[in-house]
Symmetry: D2
Subunit: 295 residues, 4 copies
Amino acid sequence: MERIAYLGLGIMGSGMASNLLKAGYPVTVWNRSPESCKPLVEQGATQAQTPAQAVQSADVIIYCLSNEQAVEDVVFGQDGILSNVQSGKIAINTSTVHPDTSHQEAAAYAQKNVEFLDAPVFGSKNEAICGGLWIVVGGKQDVFERVKPILQTFTATAHYLGDTGKGACMKLIGNSIVATQIEALGEAMVLATKAGLNPKDVLDVLHVVDFRSPVFDGVGQTLVNRDFTTSFALKHLLKDVNLIARLAQDLNSPMPAAAMVRETIKTAVNQGWGEENATAFIKALELEAGAIVKS
Amino acid sequence: MERIAYLGLGIMGSGMASNLLKAGYPVTVWNRSPESCKPLVEQGATQAQTPAQAVQSADVIIYCLSNEQAVEDVVFGQDGILSNVQSGKIAINTSTVHPDTSHQEAAAYAQKNVEFLDAPVFGSKNEAICGGLWIVVGGKQDVFERVKPILQTFTATAHYLGDTGKGACMKLIGNSIVATQIEALGEAMVLATKAGLNPKDVLDVLHVVDFRSPVFDGVGQTLVNRDFTTSFALKHLLKDVNLIARLAQDLNSPMPAAAMVRETIKTAVNQGWGEENATAFIKALELEAGAIVKS
Amino acid sequence: MERIAYLGLGIMGSGMASNLLKAGYPVTVWNRSPESCKPLVEQGATQAQTPAQAVQSADVIIYCLSNEQAVEDVVFGQDGILSNVQSGKIAINTSTVHPDTSHQEAAAYAQKNVEFLDAPVFGSKNEAICGGLWIVVGGKQDVFERVKPILQTFTATAHYLGDTGKGACMKLIGNSIVATQIEALGEAMVLATKAGLNPKDVLDVLHVVDFRSPVFDGVGQTLVNRDFTTSFALKHLLKDVNLIARLAQDLNSPMPAAAMVRETIKTAVNQGWGEENATAFIKALELEAGAIVKS
Amino acid sequence: MERIAYLGLGIMGSGMASNLLKAGYPVTVWNRSPESCKPLVEQGATQAQTPAQAVQSADVIIYCLSNEQAVEDVVFGQDGILSNVQSGKIAINTSTVHPDTSHQEAAAYAQKNVEFLDAPVFGSKNEAICGGLWIVVGGKQDVFERVKPILQTFTATAHYLGDTGKGACMKLIGNSIVATQIEALGEAMVLATKAGLNPKDVLDVLHVVDFRSPVFDGVGQTLVNRDFTTSFALKHLLKDVNLIARLAQDLNSPMPAAAMVRETIKTAVNQGWGEENATAFIKALELEAGAIVKS
């Protein structure tokens, strides 16, 4: 079995690394805050002190980092992956980044004779824990096929989408859909409340109709319960919609509704809600509607 | 069993009337273009020459009409329902209208001692045929309970939402969500195409992820197949988003993304695509993106 | 000299009536709240008790009313203008209304053999007082020419734009430009403040450059001075942008930026600022920017 | 008199350099395409072969370049300004750039003991020729005061706005206002045309009212005359609105209307109109309105 290095043990990374261990892969882990390594070490992982050390004897290097800056540090920085990665290995970035970053990574790895896949994942905490994520992959197809059994330990489906950057693009495009769905739900729920409808009744309807979506169930519950406990922080969604806007700018592609969603998210973060759950941006619509917004 | 009058035999109305007949209810039908009555008469319905005649001996009067003007004509007009409806009966409007219209109907029926429910339906052709629509109902709860067995002959679920107008509101709110979902999909697909992704691959991803929706499957197929055969005409969706904008105006409720969807739909109708399927408004985004838009 | 009836003595109407008196015209005035007649009576006007009485012996009837409902009451209502207007006279509506209202007025007056002009005015308090308003006129050109000397008593320029409704259209179109200019200024000033620029310095620049406008000077001052004393209430601007949206809907004309301005104004009115000056809607942008908004 | 180096001789730069010569300053000029130097050499300028050579003996170095990449090349590149600038001199960037670029320039110049001002100009061809530009300046105030007489040779007003980057910010903020004004005019003119108003009549009204602006006169004429001869190319305006969006993103500042303007400009550039005059983006609104758009 391939030896795996897993770097970046947030909610998502921890879940993926754990499923690799469960499947029997030998895994070396590293995280900026070393305490996050502990549960995985208890599960059998080896802990490394630096990215460079983590990749020393790994066949496949996987990482899940919070933004482009973290990729810069962990991949390109001092004691970073590139400083010690061995020829013939495979690196996989499961983070949400701009495709330009994917291209920079691919070029740098190619210099070291290392293969690279941009392979972000859809899904959140639950899917990460249960190994039910959906992975979207860019890079060489034969490399994808070689690592597919590894990816399958933590994913429900794995989609090969084309050359470098295609996975990163798909992730951003998907997130733009999610953000717009949440906006649509928020506009609808605010209007429904003003119209005197019972929010729970509205969610019952949205649960069954032919435009239903797990988003409406999940986000709808957090709204009705006023529970914005963070599983994915709003400030990270702002980062994502900013990346989407950058991609749309690069390609000069029309995104009028997504532009509005970005405005709503901006407003929410400006109220100090950036650390709350991403769905908390609906509160910005409530504010605009004149409600005294309860956290 | 209650005697039913069904008025308005478009795609939706014909489906509902047919399911009433299948359930054994005696049904009198009327339609502006009388030829649409034929299949139902063959199924056992009685054909009336005017709305007034249709409601003569009906216990429950149901109608599904294309817009407020048709309601004005069929309910309030010469030889309309109100001209001949009998005290103690029940009238049910399954059309998509503004709640103000529901209130006008309720008030006029109350003068005749007739109960009224605003009860629009979600779903389209298939659900109408199979009796799998989702109905959202405003009016008196005991009246809803009395007619529930009738509604169940053509619906999968029936939701009582409160007093007069609540059904009409819910329908508009739901349609605003659908329209925004289609916009989100369109913006995403145009961006995906510009980014070099294969549209079919994108739809495969959207089919499984945690923000999936039947909308993305259905609309996605029409996009990939360039099949905009009309099941619900774009010009009717424009009418609906205009009604939504009016409701949002009445309640001064924020709808920035929905406002953008309305702009996209306007653009599409202005290109002459109003008679195509509602999903054809995505072509307006393609036009804005600089594509030579194929029908 | 023609005998004038002037109905509706708000800030604008009072100014116009006063200038008619100064020019030597015999003027009969009426206002819903009769106390507003007093200053004009002191200037020589005759006070009427009802619209019907006001128009009894007038050759030219001019009115400036706050919205369509007031037009409905004063023109079409009990003791309204139409109840007593004499054949061969001329009626002029200087209010801001939808062109449909102009058409309804024109049709009703035509039945009485009365000529009608829709003739709203640009400008505010100062221009009303000084007789420096700008009037935009729809109706028959020869009627316009006949009353031009009268209009010139309270206007700097008088523009004949075509048949009935053209004046009303022009007014709405102009107001959409003003509202978007204020939005543009507001977005700019909020960004400038966040960027650390001194608002007064920004206004100094805007005062001279080739995109300068009296709007930026006037609104800019109210912003810097935090003086939102009402000369034209924000709730009336909301009414106007709603009329503009209705006109754009009627003609299916694209108005994406104006749609956003409407959202900002909605937000401001929802915060309870509807009675403040129209320019106060910039505070909604400040709120969205995360500022604690001072009144 | 100070010896001046002027780099970048487009429409704007040529005008500024010419006015410096007229005022009697000794000027060395450089341009990427050397032929643009000819008229200025005829006026008395010395021509340099490289930026490095141009700044060799200059006391004040002024440059006007088309975008950040040109700044990168001319300032930071091989044979660029920084490679040969002398201690104690002053560099002035009159280009439209992001304030981050200003900060990078200031830092690099500081290493060479050179003072730096970010000092973009408002105005276009005519103002450049006549010396009537409006300049907005960031940097040290005493440096601004020292070069003020130089700046006054080509400007009508010079505004000191604060430390490094403040000039760049002000320029972007101003351009966002212009772009939104053009959008407002475009939405208004399209609506006016659909409403049956004569565009020339509309411009006559806009010329006088209290929200008039030179923008409406100038852009209005190009619209009515269908003359989109380039004085400032639309593709450059797209660059500017993208810079504005980046600044708004950096500061998380709300810009809903500006976001819509960006969408309209995108649409226009996607139709192949990027080389036409900036005002040509109104044609995108005409396209959305369903008009067959004439160039």
